[in-house]
């Protein structure tokens, strides 16, 4: 599977959005402001200025500009920057699903893990968050300290994929 490419992307603004109260109210305000529903668990939403990826019941990872979000959240949650601690690694090529099974515990080969889906999982003992970009690409959010070794791990693993 030599069509695989493993690419570390440049740093991007990343925030954690946690909602601790009145989720329906926040969802309503969000829909009114952005014209779309807050994504469900395991899915994502692409807006012109940002992408929201829901990894936990009350936690979203937001990539991009967060302008307009603070009034939506109000006193029901908070935004915390975490972009310095994550490296975005794009796994592209037809074999990316197979690659994610290496050292993994998550069923990346499931047809239900489709474009727009997300997952928080462990790969080779490292916490990784995944976002399916297309049939040909998946974005992995890798902790900064592990990024060098994970990229090495994927590069080596890609050479003997089945």
């Amino acid at each position: 599977m030599n069509d695989l490419a493993i690419t570390a992307l440049s740093a991007a603004p990343l925030h954690v959005l946690e909602i601790w109260s009145d989720p329906p109210g926040v969802a309503k305000r969000f829909a009114a402001t952005f014209g779309a529903e807050l994504p469900m668990l395991g899915s994502s939403l692409q807006l012109p200025s940002m992408q929201l990826v829901r990894y936990e019941p009350a936690v979203w990872l937001i990539e991009g500009e967060i302008g307009g979000l603070e009034p939506v959240i109000g006193l029901d949650g908070s935004l915390t920057p975490i972009g310095g601690g994550l490296v975005r690694v794009r796994l592209s090529g037809a074999g990316w699903r197979s690659l994610l099974m290496e050292g993994g515990v998550f069923d990346a080969e499931s047809k239900d893990f489709a474009t727009g889906c997300s997952a928080a999982t462990v790969i080779d003992h490292v916490n990784i968050r995944l976002l399916v970009e297309s049939d040909q690409a998946c974005l992995a959010y890798v902790p900064l300290s592990y990024a060098h070794d994970m990229i090495h791990f994927w590069t080596v693993a890609a050479e003997s994929l089945i």
Binding site: G85, E102, E159
Partner: protein, 923 residues
Amino acid sequence: MSGPRRSGEPGTIRFTFDGKPLLARPGDTLAAALLANGIGLVARSFKYHRPRGIMAAGVEEPNALVTVGTAGRGEPNTRATDLFVYDGMVARSQNRWPSLSFDVGSILGLAAKALPAGFYYKTFFGSAKRWLLYEWFIRRAAGLGDAPTAADPDRFAQRAGFCDVLVVGAGPAGLAAALAAVEAGDRVILVEQDSLLAPSLVRDPQELDPAWAEATAERIRALGGRILLRTTAIGYWDDNLITLSQRLAEPGERPPAGTAQRLWHVRAKRVVLATGALERPLAFAHNDRPGVMLSQAVRTYVRRFGVIPGQRAVVATNNDDAYLTAAALRDAGTEVVAVLDTRPAPAGANSGFPVHNDAAPLATKGARHHLREVSARVAGKVVRWQVDLLAISGGMTPVVHLHMQAGGATLSWDEASQAFLPSTARQNVTSIGAAAGADPVGPTLAAEDPAKSFIDFQNDVTLGDVDLAWAEGYRSVEHLKRYTTLGMATDQGKTSNMAALGRLAEKQGVAIPEAGLTTFRPPYTPVTMGLLAGRTERDAGAHQRRLALYQVHQAKGPIWQPLGYWKRPRAYPKSGENLSQAALREARAVRTAVGMTDVSTLAKFEVSGPDAAALLELICATTVAKLKVGRGRYTFMLREDGLVFDDGTVWRLGVDRYLLTSSTGGADRMAAHISYVRQFLRPQFKVSAVNVQEHYAGIAIAGPKATKVLAALIDDDPPRHMSTVAATIARVPVLVLAASYSGERAFEVYVEATKAEAVWNACEAEVTSLGGCPYGMEAMEFLRIEKGHLVVGGEIDGRLTPHDLALDKMLNKAGAYVGAQGLARPALTQPGRKQLVGLDALSGTIPEGAMLVQAPGQPAEGHVTAAGLRVLDGGSIALGQLDGGFARHGEELLATSPTRRQSARVRVVAPHFYDTLGERYRE
């Protein structure tokens, strides 16, 4: 001409066995290739060094163990029957000296009567030291192959797999099951340990055209099924988790893509076991001689590999299947001189072979390590044949290992086939094909010379050994196993256990199922350690965590120090300096001027929301809510049992926004603790606690000139001690916390990790301009010990209370923190508890980790947790834990480390050796 041979072309694949160049055909196992080259003697037995040949054609082979490969790729104890020859293969026989054909160790066979089962239990008495002597001889006299000493150069991968149906075994039954499942729309994985689909069809093409297998496989693949060859299901665990061992290269072979094997963890909704059955040998005198082979194995070598194991053959059986072997041999040109059938007439009457009923082998004789003669009792008379091959069949044993490993499963006894069959199962598993049932067999006639009738060929266990164990009082099958070693080693009794059970049941006077069974444990076949552990720590998932400033440090050529998964600079030696010299220079720079160090690895949590202070007052044992915005304080955390498990600082960044730092080593534990408190103890809180350990890189600047450094770098005034300010350095936003771990005026500068390099460089320029330098962990350790600051894993080891660490005055008097109730336990206030002390050397250097005793040989009253020195004045100092330590200041003790063979007289003092009033913090 006698012995094994191959007709036709010898093949083109070159390999060596014991240094002899040989040729093989593509698809040959090593066993087939050796037989094809006329080699019948392949190994020496474990205990008596008896000459052994090839008995089987699959993973059950007990005899033909070889070492294959060289250097780090060398793999001992590999079954020649489960190893496909590749060009350049180097194979060697084992457990022999000086050669396989002339093995001095075979003298042990002459002393077999003196070396029965359990002989070493009876022979080697005395002290443990004497056992070490015995062991030296035993290990050289008996044994298997040698483990390689060189590192394995190859990679071992691990992979997850998910499916609706996992089918184990790609024989006819397995292929049919997989096809049915995939046609029903299921996700299917089909695994086969052989390199060939349905190898039994090649052996017995009369059952089904072998081409059917490939056509079926094509259909399975076309419908999305996955087929893995050379893949063995080695373990069956809870929740239908099955582990697979997949060979990507043969043992000893250089893997084409660098990865030698892959360990699969497969979660299956349903498991179908089509694992087939293994043929049982027969017991008679000298049944272990090369040339005595299992009947189906003989047929396999003839039909699959084109190898004829012998020219004149006797076939001995208690079932119909062996007649197929007789036919295969006849078709290949071998003269079948007799078929010995234990069943009475008319079994085999119309087979066309010279069949003898009520007949079984008595013994064999050999010449030059190969079979020459078979004797049998036929209708009460002894008859002999001069032959070079004896094919034996004692019936079939279904492979039920995985079924039993699944847990909660049972077996049922089938009297007709004299075999255990899969019965109930707790997990969603079914057995099909030969794994679910076997053909009926006739009686097994009693061996007339039990002491020479082998049942466990790999461990040289005879029927006589079982009888001896019984005579010596071993009644349980588990005891029998351990006393005789029956069923142990690489084959795990695949060909021996039923014979042993039969003998034990006979002795007990019960039916076989009542004699009991040993446990079926994973792995089903041996696996290399590399498969489980990986070649290196990287392959085992133990990655090396890199600092955001890794490249900056690396450019300075530091000595790196592992700290958990992290690597941190230990010191930055200048030309000619060793570690101690460099660390002392760096520490003195901090004491006299200024130094800077990377503290990025500290755990950091951003806690925000209206309930942030309340959450932190649960997590921290100190007060938090009273902190003013822009202020911080030292804090520590308790487990629920009241013992201190971590410490750090807490900072109020805004009205409802805090930053909590804690130790590097305890970072993951602290994250779990915060999550526990947040999610379980106070789920109703309006608070967010985000782990920002990696988001921020941290740079500590410490020393009497630290304020000057900061003043030059930021627009604002440097914050006073335990205060914080937001600023910019090198145009990068930073958060400056005034906190000290060194005992000097100090600041921690936190910056988004991706922008840390510019900030470090700006800081370093100022630091060096003022005569300072970067310092590493060794200098940091000197500084903190001298100041009496605690470290998690040293002084804070999870056993001491806040009182033991002299932290009790800082406890939150409201007492609502986690651990408050545990801390009230009477046992935690008993006198004589270990307490934190300082230790001042009166002579010599205090050894790291030393015990604190009154005098040599006296019991330990405490220990040294960290040893260092007075940075400016010299002199050895340490921190330690001492029984009732607070009341023992001024006492003299001996700090002794027997393992280091170092001792020093010490005086117990307060754990602060520098600036006891804390004035330098505030300068």
